[in-house]
């Protein structure tokens, strides 16, 4: 063999030369073995660190639709004009070189001048002062690249006919921290400007139109409290790569359904790696994990009813309204006033209008972020008389036809409770219609009624959460069977009988109660979400069952009929407190309430809570409508007209459906 032959040479000189050569080559071989085979991974990692940037790709957030698939929350393409720095780098270089040449010339001129002044040649030390220093080079680089970029942006501004803010600070930051990422220079382009850009600036090097998805609520504040809102999310979620070189953010649900179903809606973020060159400019991209769009939510809400409900409620100031399907507990509409614009959380604080909106959102008096339909403790007042009546009827102590002579007030022990209803004879019908306090205090105090009231409250799940909107629901207050056995006085019973005292409810709880009275005693677990459907899937990934019965009132049909009839009279009688809700040809059963609100132990003046609970149509109830307004005049004056507007919208919607579905009788709630 060639090498061995040379190593075994007779000539000692050549033998040594061959040996040294062989050793030298062996050292190189060993070095290569060490670097390329043993340490290969280490160097590969180093290469990745310097040449690869991982970028998170946010997933498209799932949509939220109403019961008919109409969008309540969606994603809207948002057009930005981006500056791609790598495309500009040749221009940066050219501008820098030109500036450098100019600086050199200028310095040379100054040096010559200085020499002339001194009348002698400059010493090397003096000449050094007229040389381009490293700091000057850095400055020139910085200044020229900003000049080049801002010139391009300024030209773009002229073409788009608007001034584009483009500060050196923002530019420098992107340049030094994330050179491989495009820099958005114009955000949220209007349609006109998109067209202008496409027409005139398409081929400007370094500028590109970039589409980004933006959470968008097409109806602004509609169903704001149900949908909740999102904010930009910067925290890695479970099962996601935590460390990215650059993170493109998505949204995180902060309230309502956006929060409750955040995991489903969010989808799974993808990732791409950007290959950068030695100067940090982008060379190419590889998406190694595409993002998976989030699932969509279908709600029980009907967009039209929701809108009508909000429109009816809003003029009343602070309050809530709930529309339930009495046959299955589906929430057709749920409104809380005042509401807020959901889009402001996404679009940021750029405009003065948005700032105003934020100010309104944070108002501590009207508290728009509060979902009053589920998250506020309200004393029910007279509407609770429905339960007292049922308890009396079931106990057999209340004969609906028996008349009771009201003195115009009630005496419990030494306490005198005033009555808004005039003195005179009252049967159940009249007592409910005129909302006589003394009649129901009398009934409530009768033997065996109080335990039944408590039992009915338990079956209605008063003092419990419904689980509809976790995190924005209150339990309310309601006495338990144990509460009434000790430390309980007749005075408390009297208070409870007229919906005051140790009782607080939410409008949603009252809607469930009204629906139970209307449908024959079934207490439904209210439903808001019907199904979750993965992106692009044919079948829903999760279906929430319809009409889950939580409990049954266990009240005879006869008792219910009495109460329902009395409630119809409350609306249909001219003297009835709920008369303002009457719609000819559509029989509505209702009950008004005006509850006093205690603040700091005193009954607050003008702070009373007004109620109207109702169901319709009387013959075959399909809807329960509950309206609450804070500081209203009275249930009849303030809330009943709101309910009337809602019923009109419901009827209009039914008519619309019928027209669409043909001659067949259609029930809105039962349509798919």
């Amino acid at each position: 063999m060639l090498i061995l032959d040379q190593l075994k040479k007779d000539d000692p000189h050549l033998r040594l030369l061959a040996t040294v050569t062989a050793i030298g080559l062996a050292i190189l071989l060993g070095g290569l073995w060490w670097v390329q085979l043993v340490s290969s991974e280490y160097y590969q990692q180093k290469l990745d660190i310097q040449a690869q940037r991982t970028v998170r790709i946010p997933a498209l957030r799932g949509a939220i639709v109403d019961r008919e698939g109409r969008l309540l929350a969606e994603n809207r393409p948002n057009y930005n004009v981006d500056l791609y720095l790598e495309d500009l780098s040749p221009k940066f270089d050219a501008a820098f070189l030109a500036a450098l040449r100019q600086t050199r010339t200028e310095l040379a001129r100054r040096a010559a001048e200085a020499a002339k002044q001194l009348g002698r040649k400059l010493t090397p030390a003096e000449r050094k002062e007229f040389q381009v220093s490293d700091a000057m080079v850095n400055d020139l680089h910085r200044v020229t690249r900003y000049q080049v970029s801002s010139q391009i942006v300024a030209n773009l501004g002229v073409r788009l006919q608007e001034t584009i803010p483009f500060t050196e600070k923002v530019f420098e930051r992107r340049y030094s921290e994330a050179r491989a990422l495009p820099l958005p220079v114009v955000r949220q382009l209007s349609a006109t400007n998109v067209a202008r850009f496409e027409e005139q600036s398409m081929h400007t090097p370094g500028l590109e139109l970039d589409v980004q998805s933006l959470r968008y609520y097409p109806h602004g504040s509609l169903a704001a409290h149900l949908l909740g809102y999102v904010t930009r999310n910067e925290i890695a979620t479970d099962g996601e790569l935590a460390e990215y070189s650059y993170r493109l953010d998505d949204y995180a649900g902060k309230a309502g359904l956006e929060l409750q179903f955040d995991k489903e809606l969010r989808g799974v973020a993808g990732a791409k790696s950007v290959l950068v060159n030695n100067q940090g400019y982008r060379q190419s991209e590889t998406v190694w994990a595409p993002s998976e769009p989030g699932a969509s939510l279908a709600l029980t809400i009907d967009l039209d009813i929701q809108r009508a409900t909000e429109l009816a409620l809003q003029p009343k100031g602070r309050g809530a309204a709930v529309v339930l399907d009495t046959q299955n507990g589906d929430v057709l509409a749920m409104a809380s006033a005042p509401a807020y614009n959901l889009n402001m959380f996404v679009q940021g604080l750029d405009t003065a209008a948005a700032a105003k909106e934020w100010e309104r959102f944070g108002d501590t008096n009207s508290r728009p972020q509060l979902n009053r339909a589920t998250y506020e403790n309200y004393p029910p007042g007279s509407i609770f008389k429905i339960v007292v009546a049922l308890a009396g009827l079931e106990a057999g102590t209340l004969n609906p036809r028996d008349t009771f002579q009201s003195p115009g007030f009630a005496m419990v022990g030494h306490r005198r409770i005033k009555d808004t209803a005039p003195p005179g004879p009252y049967d159940l019908d009249r007592a409910l219609a005129l909302s006589s306090n003394s009649y129901f205090i009398e009934q409530g105090l009768k033997k065996g009624v109080l335990p039944r009231i408590v039992e009915l409250g338990r079956r209605l799940h008063l003092g419990e959460k419904s689980g509809l909107l976790p995190g924005q629901e209150t339990k309310g207050i309601f006495p338990t069977a144990a509460d009434i056995t000790s430390g309980w006085s007749d005075s408390t019973t009297a208070n409870l009988s007229i919906g005051q005292g140790p009782i607080d409810v939410t409008p949603l709880q009252m809607a469930v109660m009204t629906a139970a009275v209307a449908n024959g005693g079934r207490v439904f677990a209210p439903r808001l979400v019907t199904r979750i459907q993965a992106y692009g899937a044919e079948q829903p990934s999760q279906v929430f069952p319809e009409g889950v019965v939580r409990d049954n009132l266990g009240v005879s049909k006869r008792s219910l009929d009495w109460v329902r009839e009395a409630m119809v009279h409350d609306v249909e009688d001219e003297r009835g407190t709920g008369h303002a809700c009457r719609i000819p040809g559509f029989r509505i059963g209702g009950k008004t309430g005006t509850a006093q609100v205690e603040k700091n132990g005193h009954i607050a003046k003008g702070a009373q809570l007004t109620w109207f609970v109702s169901f319709a149509p009387y013959e075959n109830p399909r809807y329960a409508v509950v309206v609450t307004v804070e500081s209203g005049a009275s249930g009849g004056l303030t809330c009943a007209p709101v309910a009337r507007q809602i019923y009109q919208a419901l009827r209009e919607r039914e008519a619309q459906k019928e027209r669409k579905a043909g001659p067949k009788m259609g029930v809105l709630a039962q349509l798919p």
């Binding site: 060639l2 090498i3 032959d5 040379q6 040479k9 000539d11 000189h13 050549l14 040594l16 030369l17 061959a18 040294v20 050569t21 030298g24 080559l25 050292i27 190189l28 071989l29 070095g31 290569l32 073995w33 060490w34 670097v35 390329q36 085979l37 340490s39 290969s40 280490y42 160097y43 590969q44 180093k46 290469l47 310097q50 040449a51 290959l275 950068v276 060159n277 030695n278 100067q279 060379q283």
Partner: protein, 407 residues
């Protein structure tokens, strides 16, 4: 081929194995010079005949002609002219140093222009030195015992060494030392002289290095350029800041650290390139270090061509290159053994040592065994002078082979 004598035996006149290895390296060179430069040149719409790889092909063509020349003129004839060639090359080395004649790049004046073509006289001076040294040392062995002869031989080596160092071209200068020493040794110079030379030389090297690296500025006897000093500091892994002394401000220290980071950039990047190549490499023109510009742009097709090959063809590729060099070197030693006379043997030893030094320093630099010095990789690096010089060297070896002993 009228000048060539008729062959005396059936054996091939050429060392075909060596020629095959040379041809293989030429092909590899063109392929990887293309890979190293195409990325930046394709974008510039440079005409194909002005692109680097094509120029390299031209240089190889010229080099093969030159090699043919070096191999047809019998080496004895060449040797007779060696004194003229030697002094001619010394003249060019001096010319480089004269402002206006030589042209400088990156602070080093190594080039001289001939009608638009730049050549590095040092590349040819190395061969001229070998020729002159072989000629001088091929005298009867007894004469080498005379100190005067020995010192003159040393002087032959030191003169171009000093001139090349003056350019400054540390690497090219340094390769002269092993070459000259190997030739002295092979010529049979007395071992005592060589030992003394080694001792003194080694001591001087240690002293100079120690002075350069560790002594405070004002204690430094030898002055070398800043970039050379920084290369040495990088190689020995020394902190610039420590070297600067205690009195420097933190800001200055920071600046020095940054400077060091930049100075060691080439070494780090070539290491990353070689290391990330792994066993099989990333494929021709797929190298990231190469394609993304992390390898030193100005020198990846010449001094750092090995990094490009190692990154794109992996361990397999770099071992192949190493094997091809082994073939050339050992056939060279074989040629030295078969040489007709001492002149031939010494010439072959000189050429082999020169090539070996280049290969060792250059590849060693790519894997941080050796400091970064501008030594080209023979036959692979881009560059007219290097290509011409390497091919002439091969021509000389073949020349010695052609006129070898007839057994």
């Amino acid at each position: 081929m009228m000048l060539s004598p008729t062959p005396k035996e059936k054996q091939s006149r050429f060392d075909l194995l060596q020629l095959a290895a040379v041809l293989a390296l030429i092909v590899i060179s063109v392929a990887f010079v293309y890979s190293a430069t195409a990325g930046s040149e394709l974008g510039t719409h440079l005409a194909w005949h002005r692109q680097t790889y094509f120029r390299q092909i031209i240089w190889f063509a010229l080099g093969l002609v030159a090699a043919a020349g070096a191999c047809v003129i019998e080496y004895h004839v060449l040797s007779r002219w060696s004194v003229v060639i030697y002094w001619g090359s010394i003249l060019t080395l001096v010319a480089v140093l004269i402002p206006g004649l030589g042209s400088s790049h990156h602070g080093a004046g190594r080039w001289i222009e001939f009608g638009g073509i730049q050549l590095q006289p040092s590349e040819f001076a190395k061969l001229a030195f070998i020729l002159a040294m072989a000629h001088y040392l091929s005298r009867p062995m007894d004469e080498l015992r005379q100190p005067k002869i020995f010192w003159t031989a040393l002087g032959l080596m030191v003169l171009p060494f000093v001139l090349i160092m003056k350019e400054p071209d540390l690497g090219s200068g340094l390769v002269l030392l092993p070459t000259g020493l190997a030739m002295l040794y092979a010529a049979g110079a007395p071992a005592a002289y060589l030992r003394r030379l080694f001792t003194v030389g080694g001591l001087a090297t240690v002293l100079i290095l120690g002075d350069l690296l560790f002594a405070p500025q004002r204690w430094q006897v030898v002055h070398i350029h800043d970039y050379q000093k920084s290369r040495l500091l990088v190689y020995f892994g020394l902190d610039y800041a420590t070297y600067a002394g205690r009195e420097v401000s933190p800001a200055e220290r920071q600046r020095l650290r940054e400077k060091q980071f930049n100075a060691s950039l080439n070494v780090r990047q070539s290491l990353i390139a070689v290391g990330s190549g792994g066993l099989l490499g990333k494929g021709w023109r797929q190298g990231r270090q190469n394609g993304l510009g992390f390898l030193p742009q100005a020198s990846k097709h010449n001094d750092f061509i090995f990094s490009v090959i190692a990154e794109e063809k992996g361990f397999i590729g770099s071992v192949t290159v190493l094997a091809l060099y082994a073939v050339i070197l050992f056939t060279g030693i074989r040629i030295a053994g078969q040489a007709r006379d001492r002149l031939g043997k010494l010439l072959a030893v000189g050429v082999v040592t020169l090539l070996f030094s280049h290969v060792f320093i250059n590849i060693g630099m790519n894997i941080r065994i050796m400091p970064v010095t501008g030594v080209p990789l023979p036959l692979l690096s881009y560059g007219g002078s290097s290509v011409l010089g390497s091919l002439i060297a091969i021509g000389l070896l073949q020349n010695i082979h052609i006129y070898r002993k007839a057994y």
